[in-house]
């Protein structure tokens, strides 16, 4: 079905995907394509961007571009691991709760409500601070372990409504086993919700990780964009006017987040039939001067071809 690839025609999605692809390449090839070893000190202390150091250097003369390039992996891995683990837990809990109902549902939703209510960042700080060596992966898992609740709640609600849908009932009447009902009938219909939950968690995880690194809760010797900012801040980058040390890493984070949101937008516009057509044809609409709006159908007297 060509619908599957339809979202590739959406401008927002393309922008988002291109940015994501760019960062993914950095994450994969970072250490090889970085111009320098990010730890390698040089004589060019705190020098502004130049031909040799495109994004300048830090207080010990390390190349900032290389730090960003090498640090990309840490950020993406955390985002991905946290996103995947939170999504998996969220799906497990949410779908199970929604599907089994009864006491199981009660207890599972009580559990997820609890996790929802317990403030996450403080909890992460508490947990991360206690782990002997809270590396990126640990942080990701902690975020995953604490960040699934919202997704689970949404999924549960969705599953609850899907479970009562006729097609699930019909499959059951046909004699399908329960696990098949869940996996083959319910889950595929939750793709959009799961995807947006995933994107949301990834964004949250990245921001949390960066923040934790920044405040020094997690090891600052692992390169990621947060640790760059940590060093910058601890060495007074802004006070010293070293904007090149501070601005790019933050901008990368925002850019990554933006890309994720754009892709999510795109997914929404594709999955939600109400948004689909407009989303897909925004350009053509602009060209033809049509502004689709509810309540006042556009009238265009074009020559029909």
């Amino acid at each position: 079905m060509n619908n599957r690839l339809m979202f590739l025609r959406n401008g927002k999605v393309i922008t988002g995907l291109v940015i994501l692809a760019f960062f993914t390449v950095l994450a994969l090839l970072g250490p090889w394509i970085a111009p320098y070893d990010p730890n390698q000190v040089s004589d060019a202390l705190l020098s502004p961007p130049s031909a040799a150091h495109w994004l300048g250097t830090d207080h010990t003369g390390r190349d900032i571009l290389s730090q960003i390039v090498v640090g990309t992996r840490g950020v993406l891995v955390v985002g991905l691991v946290a996103g995947v683990s939170a999504t998996v837990v969220g799906v497990l809990v949410g779908v199970t709760a929604g599907f089994v109902g009864g006491v199981g549902d009660e207890s599972l939703s009580a559990l997820s409500n609890m996790f929802l209510v317990i403030p996450q960042l403080p909890l992460i700080i508490l947990i991360a601070a206690q782990l002997p060596s809270a590396g990126g992966l640990t942080v990701a898992l902690v975020i995953g372990a604490t960040g699934w609740a919202w997704g689970a709640r949404v999924l549960r609600a969705q599953t609850l409504s899907l479970r009562k849908r006729d097609f699930v009932e019909a499959a059951r009447a046909n004699g399908e086993r329960t696990w098949r009902l869940v996996l083959a009938e319910v889950l595929p219909n939750l793709t959009a919700v799961i995807a947006s939950g995933f994107v949301g968690t990834v964004l949250f995880a990245v921001l949390s990780q960066v923040t934790l690194s920044f405040i020094g809760i997690t090891p600052v010797s692992e390169w990621n964009w947060g640790t760059i900012l940590f060093w910058a801040q601890n060495n007074l980058a802004l006070q010293r006017g070293a904007w090149w040390w501070f601005v790019p890493a933050g901008a990368c984070i925002a850019l990554l987040g933006m890309a994720l949101t754009l892709v999510n937008f795109g997914i929404d516009e594709i999955v939600n039939p109400r948004l689909r057509s407009t989303g897909l044809h925004a350009r053509s609409l602009r060209r033809r001067g049509i502004r689709p709006r509810v309540g006042f159908t556009p009238v265009v007297r074009e020559v029909r071809t």
Binding site: P122, G250, A282
Partner: protein, 327 residues
């Protein structure tokens, strides 16, 4: 009534779980307050002081975990949160009292402002989908993902250090003593402006995006078309019909975020040296100040619970469908 009972049971359960987590997590941390304190002082206090500190904090006797837990509950039920270690011997309750109003005041106001602005802007953006308004989306998504501290520090560097328009830290002029005077209140507002601004800027985009999406969905509901068909003025259709319904899901996230106001603003407090409970918690964590940690965490959790309760209520107020149980 079943409904109310369920909620009550849920809140009680959650509170219990939070308080218990709250009790155990600090105790699972390696190290103890004394070594942490010694570490923090990095040699500035005599190494011999360790034992005296242990005696002081009452850490010299070994109670079983269970006894501690029971004791903890006993104290809690009497409203006693214990004494802070780092601010020994100030009662935790006093510290919380001292910092909570600032956080709630500043961030609460900022969150409300962000919510109002974001929701309004989101309504308009959603309503005007497919026009120039869509051009604002990438900007919104960018700001949604900006790390708060980054924004805050840049703001400080530009607006207060370079331009000198605003103070870079503190919650009011350090020369003033809190009092209900025009001068003091003015100072609070002046000092709070920048932190509030950054909170608003970094969180407004989320509201915009959420509201916009809901608006788009709701605008195609039949009742909106009916409103158009009735020939109602556009404003009324947009606000009374579309936005009024689209705002419902926003309200529950808003309540949740109000709950997180208390705990989620640590970074703001760090960046702006603002006195508040988030930073207090952070300090407590880094100094292993269990009682303070527990106190802050408890307050934060309770705040979220209360916000949730308010959300339940607000939702019931705004959405008549949830109000009646039968039919």
């Amino acid at each position: 009534m079943r409904f109310v009972l369920r909620r009550v049971v849920f809140y009680a359960l959650t509170a219990w779980a939070a308080i218990t987590i709250n009790f155990f997590i600090p105790r699972m941390l390696p190290g103890d307050p004394v070594t942490a304190l010694m570490g923090r002082m990095q040699g500035r206090i005599d190494s011999q002081a360790e034992q005296s500190l242990r005696v002081l904090f009452g850490l010299d006797q070994d109670l079983g975990l269970w006894e501690q837990y029971v004791e903890y509950w006993r104290m809690l039920l009497r409203g006693d949160l214990g004494l802070s270690f780092t601010h020994f011997p100030t009662p935790v309750a006093d510290i919380v009292n001292q910092s909570l109003p600032w956080t709630v005041g500043l961030v609460g106001v900022a969150t409300v402002i962000a919510f109002v602005i974001g929701t309004l802007a989101g309504s308009i953006l959603g309503w005007r989908r497919g026009t120039w308004a869509d051009g604002l989306l990438p900007l919104a998504t960018f700001f949604q993902a900006v790390p708060y501290f980054w924004l805050g520090l840049i703001t400080i560097a530009v607006l207060s250090v370079n331009l000198g328009w605003f103070p870079s830290s503190g919650s009011y002029d350090r020369g003033l003593v809190p009092a209900f005077t025009g001068e003091f209140i003015g100072s609070v507002i002046y000092y709070g402006f920048l932190p509030a601004l950054t909170v608003v800027v970094s969180s407004v985009a989320g509201w915009v995006l959420g509201m916009r999406n809901m608006m788009v969905t709701v605008s195609s509901e039949d009742y909106v078309t009916v409103a158009h068909a009735k020939g109602l003025p556009e404003r009324q259709v947009m606000l009374g019909y579309a936005a009024r319904n689209a705002v419902l899901p926003q309200v529950s996230s808003f309540a949740l975020s109000l709950g997180f106001v208390v705990g989620g603003t640590l970074i703001m407090e760090m960046v702006f040296s603002y006195q508040g409970i988030g930073y207090t918690l952070y300090q407590a964590v880094s100094t292993h100040d269990y009682p303070l940690m527990q106190g802050c965490f408890l307050v934060i959790t309770l705040a979220v619970l209360v916000a949730n309760m308010v959300a339940d209520l607000a939702y019931a107020l705004l959405d008549p469908r949830t109000r009646t149980e039968d039919r």
